[in-house]
């Protein structure tokens, strides 16, 4: 059985002055219109995005379910970046329990104290008392990565330049000003050795995708984007392997295995959730596109982060789905024929990889 994306809806990604459920409504409504269907055609509603501290509202899906169109319908919420909700939606369709399913994600980074929120995910006994913010952890990763593999400062900073260059031509991205290498290298530090310009561009927004079982997808759309495979994984809670991203490695392996594909280098586009500069290279390596420490060698030869990546747009809760939507839009436009989309969460210890094609 095949699963296709037949509708895509995104709000602007910027700082919004509307509550998260109104953003979710906007995205869902756009997706429904894009697919040319009605809310009533959707039988299942799979929500993604964070709850309680991550949004400032406990049981946030109470508000998002009706906004997504789920009034008196089947709704479930995967509490993670919305990219992680895609497998849930696909499994329901594969099980034969759904024909048309909507996936909705949102992020309202501007309303929350992000670092304080993520800090609470560390256990209260051992890690939280160290006040290790996400940026401090990612900075440790940068330091470990660059010293273990001997990767220069410039190579890592280039990742920002790369993303911003692409964001310039992506109308959906948030931060679209190009940056030169010197701009990045001369900017102020966030947590040493990470510079502020090397960290994700926080904003708000919502994304909705309408998925359909293959036979129905072909009837409803002439430009279906097919979901060829997906995989996801956790990794050890206790910090180890600072210079690698094992969850990404396992998620990608699973995705390729389930899709019965064997060449991960064969995708025509890659969208990766680089929450900081060094992540971009680390992700390429974890995916198996380059040896450890050699990500910079292939970064420019790939069609990488045409969306601008998370360094240009990061709505905490839906960045992964944002990257996916961007890839899907470009697949529809015929800019490339296949895409691997990566997402991660939880101090980079969880990852979800989706494979798209036409």
């Amino acid at each position: 059985m095949k699963i296709g994306i037949i509708g895509i809806g995104l709000t602007d990604f910027r700082i919004h002055k509307e509550p998260f459920y109104n953003l979710a409504f906007e995205a869902a409504k756009k997706a429904v219109n894009d697919a040319g269907i009605d809310r009533g055609d959707i039988d299942s509603f799979v929500l993604g995005g964070y709850d309680n501290l991550g949004v400032g509202r406990t049981i946030a899906n109470m508000y998002v379910a009706p906004a997504a169109g789920g009034y008196l319908r089947h709704e479930i919420r995967v509490a993670d970046d919305a990219a992680f909700a895609l497998p849930m939606a696909c499994m329901r369709i594969l099980a034969g329990l759904s024909d048309i399913c909507i996936v909705v994600g949102f992020g309202t980074t501007s309303e929350i104290p992000l670092e304080l929120v993520e800090l609470q995910s560390l256990d209260p006994l051992f890690y939280r008392p160290t006040n290790l913010s996400i940026w401090a952890y990612y900075a440790i990763q940068k330091y470990a990565y660059s010293s273990k593999f001997g990767v220069d400062e410039e190579r890592i900073a280039e990742c920002v330049v790369r993303d911003r260059k692409n964001a310039r031509s992506n109308p959906y991205a948030f931060k679209r000003e190009e940056l030169k290498l010197d701009d990045v290298l001369n900017s102020e530090y966030s947590v040493y050795p990470l510079r502020k310009l090397e960290t994700a561009a926080n904003c708000d927004g919502a994304v909705a995708l309408i998925l359909a079982e293959g036979t129905i997808a072909k009837r409803l759309s002439d430009s279906v984007v097919w979901i060829k495979g997906f995989g996801w994984s956790n990794s050890n809670y206790y910090f180890e392997d600072f210079e690698r991203l094992p969850a990404t490695k396992f998620a990608a392996k699973m995705a390729m295995k389930k899709a019965k594909m064997d060449n991960i280098k064969a995708f025509e586009n890659y969208e990766v959730m680089d929450l900081v500069s060094n992540h971009q290279l680390m992700i390429l390596e974890a995916l198996g596109l380059a040896d450890w420490g050699k990500g910079y060698e292939i970064a420019d030869s790939l069609n990488l982060n045409s969306s601008g990546g998370a360094l240009s747009t990061n709505a905490y809760g839906t960045t992964g789905l944002f990257l996916l939507a961007n890839a899907a839009i470009k697949l529809r436009e015929g800019l490339f024929d296949s895409s691997l989309v990566h997402a991660m969460s939880g101090y980079a210890r969880r990852s979800c990889v989706s494979l798209l094609g036409v």
Binding site: P66, I76, R92, L97, Y347
Partner: protein
């Protein structure tokens, strides 16, 4: 569509506080029991679905810390949907297997309400801060709204409703995992202090610490694991709008009635009273069992109030409801929904502590949000419904 069964279950003993274990250690206790019950080991588990209602335990995203207890480098999914969490976690695990992508999936739900100073203040953070949070409303209040309205519409008395509490407490005495073990009379219930009128202390659920887990397996694998798996006949979940004021009539849980109809149609149930042998319903407050029985077609509107009083919902009655003692006696909020399907499964497996005779078809239910969500599951000792 693949047939899926529950092949192993596990629960920790529920207490006000499990100060002897950390969060992941508590999760591990449930995982270990479940593996023992199924005869599997951790490497047999291909994917994990984890449920918890986060803020209660004082940890944001406890699944990160707890994933050490259920296997790392596995696909691990976090489900969180308020009170229905435990059962939507089961739903997600079921769909993992039903999709054909996995053969053995673990569903685990953990909650440590005992670590939180006050559950109601946390529940208040669920209430809309823009329009409603100032009103000091938590879970008890919405149930008491139901009670006030039901008593007004159907002329139910406080005694009628108190009988549900008497039944649940008696049942819990037979459940080795239950939290509250107290034999109470109607007078005891009526004399207990009023919390939110008209509900009294003994009509409200406790705050419990604990974890529960269940293993879902595909048909081919299930048959190899045990002779008496609990087959999943069907599942339904429904979401109403958020605002409590949108409910047409708080004495009638119409969204649950809708969900029930859909499940019965899917499974082939003609008459729930005759076709279902036992029900584990999420009744966190005495009044709720009454509304649930009526919404699910076990009783006509207004009739539900007499069921407990007349013994109909006791284990030896016609419609045994919550023989485990239910949520009223054990409520580790995010796990309570999973416990409902665990108890329902034990019933049809013939292994329940308060076993209903000849239980072959069982219903599990959970509700969540502002009386907003419902999840239902039907399990059976047979692969398909039909006698």
């Amino acid at each position: 569509m693949r047939r899926v069964a529950i092949v192993g279950v596990g629960q920790t003993k529920f207490r006000t506080r499990r100060e002897d274990k950390t969060h992941p250690e508590l999760a591990f206790e449930a995982v270990k029991k479940t593996l023992e019950h199924s005869g599997l080991n951790i490497n047999d588990i291909e994917a994990v679905v984890y449920g918890s209602m986060d803020p209660f335990d004082g940890i944001y995203r406890p699944e990160l810390w707890d994933s050490t207890s259920s296997g790392i480098f596995k696909p691990h999914m976090k489900i969180s949907t308020g009170g229905t969490t435990g059962l939507t976690t089961a739903l997600a695990a079921y769909e993992h297997v039903a999709s054909g992508l996995f053969d053995v999936v673990l569903a685990i739900a953990v909650q440590r309400v005992g670590e939180c100073a006050d559950a109601q203040s946390v529940l208040n953070t669920a209430v809309d801060p823009i329009y409603e949070r100032h009103s000091g409303v938590g879970a008890i209040h919405v149930a008491s709204f139901q009670a006030t309205r039901y008593m007004h519409e159907f002329k139910a008395t406080e005694e009628d409703i108190a009988w549900v509490s008497v039944k649940d407490h008696k049942n819990a005495l037979k459940n080795p995992y239950a939290h509250i073990k107290m034999d109470v009379t109607v007078e005891d219930v009526l004399k207990s202090p009023v919390i939110c009128s008209p509900l009294k202390l003994l009509e409200c659920c406790p705050r419990s610490d604990g974890a529960a887990a269940a293993i879902f397996a595909s048909e081919e694998v299930a048959k190899k694991i045990r002779d008496n798996p609990a087959w999943i006949l069907g599942e339904v979940t429904i979401s109403d709008n958020y605002y409590i004021g949108d409910r047409p009539n708080l004495a009638v849980w119409d969204s649950l009635a809708l969900a029930g109809r859909r499940l019965y149609r899917a499974v082939g149930i003609d008459d729930p009273k005759k076709d279902i042998d036992v029900a584990e319903l999420y009744s966190a407050f005495s009044i709720q069992e009454i509304l649930e029985l009526e919404a699910l077609g076990f009783a006509k509107p207004g009739e539900g109030k007499d069921y407990a009083k007349n013994g109909i919902t006791f284990p030896d009655g016609d419609i045994p409801t919550n023989p485990s003692g239910g949520v009223l006696c054990t409520n580790p909020i995010g796990a309570s929904g999973l416990i409902r399907i665990i108890e329902a499964s034990l019933q049809v497996m013939g292994e329940a502590s308060n076993q209903v005779e000849n239980a072959r078809v069982a219903l599990a239910h959970a509700w969540g949000g502002t009386l907003q969500f419902h999840t239902l599951f039907m399990v059976s000792s047979s692969k398909k419904f039909g006698r």
